[in-house]
Amino acid sequence: MSRMNSRQRKLSYGAGILLLLAPIVYLGFPSQQSGDGDSSRLGLLSQKRRQYELGEATLGNVDPSSSAVNLVLLGLRGPAATWLHVQAIEHQERKEWAKLRATVDSIILLQPHYVQIWKFQGWNLAYNVSREWDKVDDRFYWVKEGIKFLQEGTRRNQSVPILFHDVGDFVQNKMGVSDEKKFFREYFEKDPDPRFETAPGVPGPDPAINPNGLDSYLVAHDWFVDANQKDDEDGVVGVRGMTHVFFRQGPSKALINFAGTRAQRGLFDEHVPAWDRAYKSWMDDYGRMDFYGLDDKKYRLNSTEDDLTTLAEENGITVSAQRQLWAQNLDMTNFRQWRDISNLERSEQMLEARKSFFAAREAYNGGRGFDQGDGAGNLQISEAQKYLETAMQKWQELAKANPNLFMDGDYLDECMLLVQYYDAVHQQNNRSLPATFPLKEIWDANVFEQSEAKRTFLIETKARQVQ
């Protein structure tokens, strides 16, 4: 039994509390800036927070609700977050999408600076949840949800470059590469949701992901640029889980992808300028960046002989070792191939070749692939065939001038498809392929690619209208 009476006990408790509070008050005191900018010795925690950029405000926008929840939960943030993660998985398994989304929102209130959660749940919504839905506009809605979620992540974590990069990646890949790209690219600029109509019956973009109504690759480009800027600022959370040299190629790759769509859409006026911009970005921006390879040796992808010598000196290695390091990374990033492709695409010859194939396709799919009589009893070859022959000639010239680019990949596929069209025109006019024709050499040398070309041809021509 204590010999103290009630008042004494209370006083002793009070004294104990004060004793314990003193160091906390001392450590947690706000830092005070003196006139010359040096912080005083008071506010140690505050100083450290500033020093390591760990304050809420320096990490990103402060969400009062997040702070309130963490305060209310006292020390139970961990168990609460774990429980919510389990709930989220359960909601996903049970396909309770509304509850999943709400639970994910609750998780980020508790763990707003846990980058992996933003990355994982952003991916989960845009990729896993979206594919669970059947109709393409529903899928697009969930892709947007994933992107918006990641965007929110960037606002709350402004010093994490990978989140900015992921937004760009999602926009680029979902709109440009996914199975539903045909629809998603269209919806990105003309959202099927009636809330985003610019005028009655005129669809517009969702301002949350595409405020200026741009092409998806250009929007992705802007996000990649932001990501690189954050990386330059040397964010608190650096780039993790991705090789730096790949991380930094985002903007240039987005421009290359954007340029690639110009000819596909028949926008030939924009073709050369777009490729020119992409080439310059690849060579002058990305190519001139400094990266660190094995053993922290610096290299530059677009290096001149002088650059190699300078960098070798800087790295303290021989020029030959520097050249080897450089060559390895050129191969790894496919730098030369993209350089050559961009360079070729921005030429007038390539523009003409693409135009002629485009015209040939239009003619064939427009039903202008049948031979016609000229009124004097002579049979004239079809318009499609004329375009095809012109195109084949142009592509053959390009193939001869750039043999490396035509050994495999898109250019080879394009040539094979061209011949496939040519074959189809002959077949529908009851003729077989002539003994010689431009691109024959390529056609014969790539027997295995012929079936793929036929498949692509069938997909492309499925909806053609026969006159």
């Binding site: 009062p64 929840v69 999408w97 509304a98 989304r101 529903d138 539903e180 629809f183 809330r195």
Partner: protein, 777 residues
Amino acid sequence: MDFDIRPYDFVSALRGWLLLSAGLAVISLALALVLSVARNGAAGLRIFTEGLKSYFRDTVTLSSRRILAVARLALLEAVRRKALMVFVVFAVLLMFAGWFIADANERPELQVQVHVAFLLKSIAWLMLPAVIFLSCWAVPEDIRLRSLHTVVTKPVRRVEIVLGRILGLAVVFLAVLLAMGVIGQLWLSRRIPESARAALQCRVPVFGNLYFLNAEGQPAETGINVGDVYAYRSHIQGNSRARGVFLFPKFDESALTINAEGAQELLLECRFEAFRTVKGSEKSVKEGIQAQYTLMSNPREEAFGIFAQSETLRPTAEAFRNAEFRNASDLLKGLAERIRKAPQELRPADYVALHNGLLNAGEQLQRRKDERLTEVSTKFLDGAGVCFPIPKMMADQDAGLRVEIPWENLAKAVDEVAASVLQRSADLLEALPRLEVPLPAFSVAEYHGGDDASVNVTRIPRILRFVAGDESLARFLADVTTEWNAAGKLVENAAIRATLVSDLVAQAKISQLNAERLVVVVLGEELAAGKLSIAGGKLSPPEGTSWFVFYRDLISLQRLVSEDSEGWIIEKDLVKDLSKDGYLRVEVACVDDQMYLGMARPDLFVRKADRPFWVGYWKALVGMGAMLLLMVVVGVTVSCVVKSNVALFFSMAFLIVGLLHDFIIRKLMELEKGMGTFESAVLLMQDRNPEVGMDVSSTTLKVVQTADKSLDGVLWVFSRIVPDFGVFSKATRYVENRFDVPLVDVVLPALAVLGGFFIPCALIAGALLKFRELESK
């Protein structure tokens, strides 16, 4: 909706309750007697009897005035104890709720779901602690502070104190719940964004029962699992004979709604899931997978489809389905012969299917209350009776027991069924009509439900006009002919009535071309050929033939091919014709090849006229109120015998077991993953996973597992005593999904559970308080 509601079985619940209450009463009395004798010796029996009499007197002479006085006291005390502080927390929560759930989803129906779920959960979880604390604290505190002593000195019975306490607390908490409900209603109606308010609705669903037909068209309990972790829905294969068959029992006119034009229509709403094995066409990608409903009246399938459970009996089932009764009779005869000659060739499963088929057919035919079918239904039931013990006997025989199986009796019974079917084939044909109305295919909008009146909702007019199949056409023409013949509308002056074509067009609603074909070409020709005759102003079918058979033969001879390019379009009434057996059968098919359609029982329902959202909301609050009152009853009861902290602990345990009831049952049935407490602890300590198990000796293993089993036993006992709190929260899930809460299946069971606990708990608490020594704290 992703949950399934089964009807609550009140009768078996009442039976169980009576049994348990009686058992509890006997045990309590026996225990009291033993204790009394042990404490008082020979006088124990007298004291026990007197105590029992006194308690009985107390119980039957309750005074409402005294109860109300105690209740008032409890009420004032609750207010004094700041029970209403819960409001402050509630208000604060609602004020800041927007922070947490704002913009969780842009879609209206998802927004409603999130807001409603948040509100109802908040109310429940804010009130539960207050309820448990106050109900567990009340009586023990009275005893501790001796305020109870002043009450018991007055002429108030102890059981009245208990009832007064329960009533007082109930009034307080129901008032708080009511106020929270009103505040919640205001909050919801203001908080939900303008765009989503239209989704605040209370759909009134009528659910049916679901079974499947597999890709070969044979009945199956489930469809295909496409690999979902949560095996809630089963899938049917597209472009095959696979169907999801929904049967809506007790279907009548009340299920119909009135549309904007004032006409009656049936609303079918679905929430199917789609699964693709290929991307599909561009149209399909944009619009979704196509499904198709077929409304059916198919008594032959209902009666004989079960035979198809067995591969051996499948041809018999097919013959019955196709109304080939003579063929079915022959097949049954062949079966009888096989049973006679080589009964062991058939597997026990075949005899099970034979029994099920005979029994189901007999019952279904009997249910139709058609005198013509009485004899044949009796034969089916007799056959089922003979067949019933056969599979068990075969199993016994296989186990080495000497059993004489009455194969001859079975063969004879099957023979008699075959003979009866043959004899009554014409009656069976007449009495078991099949009517099939295929509706246009529609696109399934996956995971959308009720957010838009046009999405996933099919409106079916009461009067259906559709292209008739062969049997439907033959029956339609036979019905018209019979009816009009009886009314003398077919014949005039010993010839077919001159205006018959126009009459058919006007009254039977068939097209001019088809009416001409029927009257001029077919009837005229048949009459001229002498196949039909006119006598006494009536048209007669060929001798020994019914009109149905007459028309069916004409159709099979291609004599009634439609002249109209649209086919034979006829009219049928949804209620009178398609559900005249008292139920509606809807078959769902997936139209697209290589696609699958997933469904569960609640995924297709008849949607009656919507009610205001608040009807369902308040019903959910009634369910919640029942849960709170149950906790009051339990808390007050326990606190009559133990101290407040123990009562608190008990009530919390009661609540947790109730909430986890479903999980506990699944755990006890070993349907949940994971192991027992001790085994898990050992695994944790050994840093091993469940797959490899514990690294211990066999003795330790046995000890650990026995310890876990004993804990399971404790859980089992608790799960028997504590009700499943799911009964109270079911209503919430309905409202979240914007459905009306069914009164009989959801609200009444919650009230029944409350009543089931209230009566014994009040009696027990009264007895405990009466016989306890108040001075012992």
